[in-house]
């Protein structure tokens, strides 16, 4: 060991040894943790209410129109389930098995999610994903598996927005996390959102170390008389 190493080690050890520990750290942490847990529960109740409202609007449209409105699909696309449905977004490394699904508001009640919704499909790595939303639409992104707590949502464009950069913790339990994607536009258009992993990124961090996993093109088409369920993933 050279002298630089030795002085460095001694300096760090002696500085650390002199640190006082606050007597109330444990109680402060537990109090703050309980406060956040309560706040999270209230927020989730609100999100669930929004989802239920979306279901109600759809039901009203069905009653008034005598049936479900036709699904509007982009050219050449299809709303049929793809063969790679629910395949993981990540297939190798420490995050192998991380799966992200994309679904309607009608599937989005976080308090009681269906185990495998029929009209929810998995997003895949790369830029080959293409999905459709109405102009005033709301959909859920659900992450499960390893590294779900490191998943970041980016919505850099002007048509599609996320409720947060991080997938919400504790929504569906330890392994499942949910983010909400919504549109709020008066005209049709095309936008994108990105999913990526960051080593660790706090809720208010800039996440500039994000490694993108998937870029998803969103076709914003039509008015909001549906959650359509038209999730389209292009072929590789």
């Amino acid at each position: 060991m050279n002298s630089l190493d030795q002085v460095l080690r001694e300096t760090l050890q002696e500085r650390a040894a002199a640190i006082p520990v606050p007597a109330d750290l444990t109680s402060r942490v537990i109090a703050e943790g309980r406060r956040r847990a309560r706040r999270s529960a209230v927020a989730l109740t609100g999100l669930a209410a929004v989802a239920v409202l979306g279901v109600g609007i759809t039901a009203a449209a069905v009653v008034a129109g005598g049936g479900l409105p036709a699904t509007v699909s982009p050219g050449g696309a299809t709303g049929a389930p793809a063969p790679h449905e629910h395949e993981p977004l990540v297939t190798t490394g420490e995050c192998a098995g991380l799966t992200v699904t994309f679904g309607d508001a009608s599937q989005g009640d976080p308090a009681n999610p269906p185990p495998v919704p029929d009209d929810v499909q998995a997003l895949r790595a790369g830029d080959g994903n293409r999905v459709q939303m109405a102009r005033q639409d709301l959909k859920w992104l659900r992450a499960s598996g390893p590294c779900a707590d490191r998943l970041i949502l980016r919505t850099p464009g002007e048509l599609v927005f996320g409720n947060q950069s991080r997938f919400a913790d504790g929504v569906l339990g330890q392994a499942d996390r949910v983010a909400v994607l919504f549109t709020n536009t008066g005209s049709d258009g095309t936008d994108t959102f990105e999913l990526g992993l960051w080593a660790w990124c706090g809720t208010d961090s800039d996440c500039s170390g994000l490694v993108p996993l998937a870029t998803v093109t969103v076709d914003v088409i039509g008015t909001t008389d549906l959650p359509s369920g038209a999730v389209v993933t292009s072929t590789p």
Partner: protein, 168 residues
């Protein structure tokens, strides 16, 4: 207090000094160190009794502390200047050689957050490059590169005494 809270409390009591030490050596500011550790522990608390829980809570919390420090520094200002100890909440440290260690402590302040994190994890925690890479979310080669740059920066500091720059 329920059983899960008691277990979490035991964990905090057992590990708080070590975690605070790492945070302080990174931030060089006691108040910021406490904030970092408290935030990391709150996140651990929220996961403590859910699902399978946290397999390695010590590593989990330490990893949050390190990465929040790095990302927080990046967020605050890309043009932030290295600071002396004057504007930080410092702790007095007994020392075998006060001048030498004070010079080293100040020299550590010129390092980038990632460089400092590498040295703290290597020389205080005794981690291997692989373990440091796991904490920082980077490759082992990146760790070695950061360490090399950190050594060069330390050796370039005029305040660091000659003995500390010698190699045996």
């Amino acid at each position: 207090m329920d059983a899960s809270s008691a277990t979490f409390e035991e964990f905090v009591l057992a590990r708080q000094h070590r975690l605070l030490s790492v945070a302080y050596l990174l931030t060089r500011d006691l108040q910021r160190a406490e904030d970092l550790v408290q935030e990391a522990l709150v996140k651990a608390y929220l996961r403590w009794d859910r699902g399978p829980g946290i397999a390695q809570p010590d590593a989990y919390v330490r990893r949050i502390v390190v990465n929040e420090f790095i990302s927080g520094r990046r967020r605050r200002s890309a043009s932030e200047q290295p600071t002396d100890t004057a504007d930080l909440i410092d702790v007095a440290a007994p020392s075998k050689d006060p001048d030498e260690q004070l010079a080293m402590w100040r020299a550590l302040g010129v390092l980038t957050p990632r460089e400092r994190a590498v040295l703290v994890l290597r020389y205080y925690e005794g981690f291997t490059d692989r373990e440091i890479a796991d904490h920082l979310g980077c490759a082992e080669g990146t760790v070695r590169s950061l360490a090399t740059r950190a050594y060069a920066a330390l050796r370039a500091q005029p305040g660091l005494l000659d003995r500390a720059k010698e190699t045996s």
